[in-house]
């Protein structure tokens, strides 16, 4: 099972490589990828250096071009595919059928992975993408229970990658427009959920307020910590009661079910967080490398070390972690 780690810049890529990643995933400095944040991602020089650094150490590099192109920006997406192919990366992670069609036709020898943003959750959907674009791997949305993931692996001939750790999308990726409803920009159209330019933080006598596109998505007491301002983790009134109506401010951690993930036949486990820090990548990669190695040596005896949980808790967003949709009770 491959460990796939995030790199928002060159130091993060080196940290992932040095601490045991089997593959790192990166993006370009524009809206062609779903972590389109200021100051993040790779220019040409950095990609060349990053690919060389990783390949010299037998680590793979994947490039995410996983947002949806509109006609007025189409050439940016094809140019991104051209650049990724030119740098000899090990796979391109795509979501848009048009971009997949372009890449499959132009670069038949480049590995294509279907991004989580491609929203394929069943064997027929995956089969369609495999038949037309020859995808070599699918990253499945965080909607399936682990039993469903295991069944999908049995039914499908495409290797499956799942998210194992990091911030948790509550909605089917690629089909969530909540961000653009509030701000005008979404992961699909802009490459970010809750883009920073549309977020306002304000201290008021009632508490600390977070607004997205002018809409009050959270008001918390001054002592509560603020996480990434996704509107799905805010508090709202539902039938007269104030609560986290969609999801608590939790993040995903599947360390406790690692033997089951392994037994299910998952090909790769992905760590979320290209927008996080070098320290995050270092710590999380180190823990997951150690955990996967221990689990593969002896799955029956595998118990996550308390120190692993402590390290991961320090870098997690929000106070709580969850196994999320992999556990049926979450649904």
């Amino acid at each position: 099972m491959e460990l796939v780690c995030p790199a928002g810049n060159l130091p993060m890529l080196k940290a992932a490589v040095d601490n045991g990643a089997n593959a790192v995933y990166i993006g370009f400095r524009d809206d062609t990828n779903a972590r389109h944040f200021a100051g993040l991602n790779f220019n040409d020089k950095q990609i060349a250096e990053g690919v060389k650094y990783a390949h010299d150490r037998r680590v793979k590099v994947f490039v995410a071009i996983n947002t949806y192109a509109q006609p007025d920006g189409w050439s940016r997406w094809t140019a991104a595919v051209d650049r990724a192919a030119a740098y000899g990366v090990d796979a391109i992670i795509l979501a848009d059928m048009g971009v997949l069609d372009y890449a499959a036709e132009r670069y038949p020898n480049v590995n294509l992975h279907l991004s989580v943003q491609g929203s394929a959750t069943n064997p027929a959907a995956i089969g369609f993408m495999q038949r037309h674009f020859g995808i070599k791997r699918v990253v499945v949305p965080r909607v399936l229970s682990l039993a469903q993931v295991a069944h999908l692996i049995e039914e499908s001939s495409v290797p499956v990658e799942i998210f194992g750790f990091g911030s948790l999308c509550v909605m089917v990726e690629g089909r969530c427009l909540l961000s653009s409803y509030a701000s005008g920009q979404s992961p699909n159209t802009y490459g970010a959920c809750s883009p920073a330019a549309h977020v306002e933080w304000r201290d008021t006598p009632q508490g600390q307020e977070t607004r997205l596109g002018g809409i009050l998505i959270e008001r918390r007491s001054h002592s509560e910590a603020a996480g990434y301002p996704t509107l799905c983790k805010g508090r709202y009134h539902v039938a007269g009661e104030l609560r986290h109506a969609i999801e608590e401010p939790t993040s995903l951690n599947t360390l406790d079910i690692l033997p089951d993930i392994l037994a299910a036949g998952v090909s790769a486990i992905k760590i979320e967080g290209r927008q996080r820090s070098t320290r995050y990548v270092t710590q999380v990669t180190k823990v997951w490398r150690e955990a996967i190695d221990a689990c593969q040596r002896n799955p029956q005896a595998f118990r996550p070390k308390e120190s692993w949980h402590q390290i991961l808790a320090q870098v997690s967003e929000g106070a709580q972690t969850t196994i999320g949709p992999y556990e049926r009770t979450w649904h």
């Binding site: 491609g118 929203s119 959750t121 959907a125 089909r175 409803y181 709202y236 539902v238 969609i246």
Partner: protein, 310 residues
């Protein structure tokens, strides 16, 4: 802007699938009324949750036969999020019936429908001309523009669309914004999804959630999240026609769907001014109207004539 009366291209009207859980009798009564309503195409079928089985495929086919007998087009809509074998089997069964056109709402349906005419619903991510051309080669006859896309992208796509492929716009209703593994209705009733007691049936138009300063924001409908505001494209009717949009979709709500269709129909024939029509539509939008997506703004905003100020 060209007058709609003189325009050679006048969009037809469609009725989207019922997105909520209504009692069987209410559904049957609803379609009996809609068959008489001024609408050209009726989409029907369960698109949200496979646990809702108060109508079986046979029931939908029977209604569809009646729709066709009344001289309208019937399209069978399918589930938007497919996870289980059972859901896949039902989908395959619906797609295998060639009497009616199918609306694909998940990639799985594209797999089953390839090679025969189909409609791509708004949850199929068709954002550019290459995707449009790709799907047209596989049998696409009409696509519903993803709801977050506005007039600029619609115009670009329409300029270069493959011959014979039609474009449909989500024109009136609470916007379908997201799907999840979690049932939010059950979650907010402190029930597990596997023991949901069909509590979404208690909310015939969804469960509205409100911000901490009292703004009605989103609308929970089982695993789907919708906008609280009702999207309304009526003020842009002339522009929509001039762009070459072929069909306008009205999304069913528990009250006044027939009235909404009549307003759109009258505006399309030029018998009703769109601004006047919008003033009347405001009464049937419980959380207010919006149109931001069409003009390239935040979806919840309302900027076109007659939309704001309830």
């Amino acid at each position: 802007m060209p007058s709609l009366n003189n325009s050679t291209h006048r969009p037809r009207l469609s009725l989207g699938p019922i997105l909520y859980l209504w009692p069987r009798e209410q559904v049957l009564d609803f379609y009996a009324e809609m068959i008489e309503a001024p609408v050209d195409t009726i989409y029907l079928g369960e698109t949200i949750c496979s646990k809702r089985r108060q109508l079986r495929p046979e029931d939908y086919w029977e209604i569809a036969e009646r729709i066709v007998a009344a001289g309208k087009e019937a399209v069978i809509s399918t589930l938007a999020l497919i996870e289980s074998d059972g859901e896949l089997k039902t989908l395959q069964r619906l797609c295998a019936d060639e009497r009616f056109t199918i609306e694909a709402n998940d990639l799985a349906a594209l797999d089953f429908l390839e090679g025969r005419p189909f409609v791509a619903g708004h949850s199929i991510n068709l954002y550019n001309q290459r995707t449009l051309a790709f799907l047209a080669k596989r049998g696409l006859k009409r696509w519903v523009l993803p709801v977050e896309l506005g007039r600029t992208t619609a115009a670009d796509l329409l300029r270069t669309r493959p011959p014979g492929v039609e474009c449909e716009l989500f024109a009136f209703g609470r916007l379908p914004l997201a799907y999840s593994a979690r049932c939010f209705t059950a979650y907010n009733r402190q029930l597990g999804k596997d023991d949901c007691q069909f509590c979404c049936g208690d909310y015939p138009d969804g469960l509205v959630i409100t911000t901490q300063e009292g703004q009605e924001f989103l609308n929970l409908n089982g695993i789907q999240t919708q906008s609280a505001n009702t999207h309304n494209i009526l003020p842009a009717l002339a522009e929509v026609g001039a762009l070459g949009i072929d069909m306008l979709r009205v999304s069913p709500q528990s009250q006044h769907t027939g009235d909404v269709l009549r307003i759109f129909a009258d505006a399309l024939t030029g018998d009703l001014d769109p601004t006047e029509g919008t003033t009347r539509l405001r009464d049937w939008a419980p959380s207010g109207l919006c149109d931001g997506y069409w003009t390239g703004q935040s979806g919840y905003k309302a900027g076109m004539p007659g939309q704001s100020a309830r």
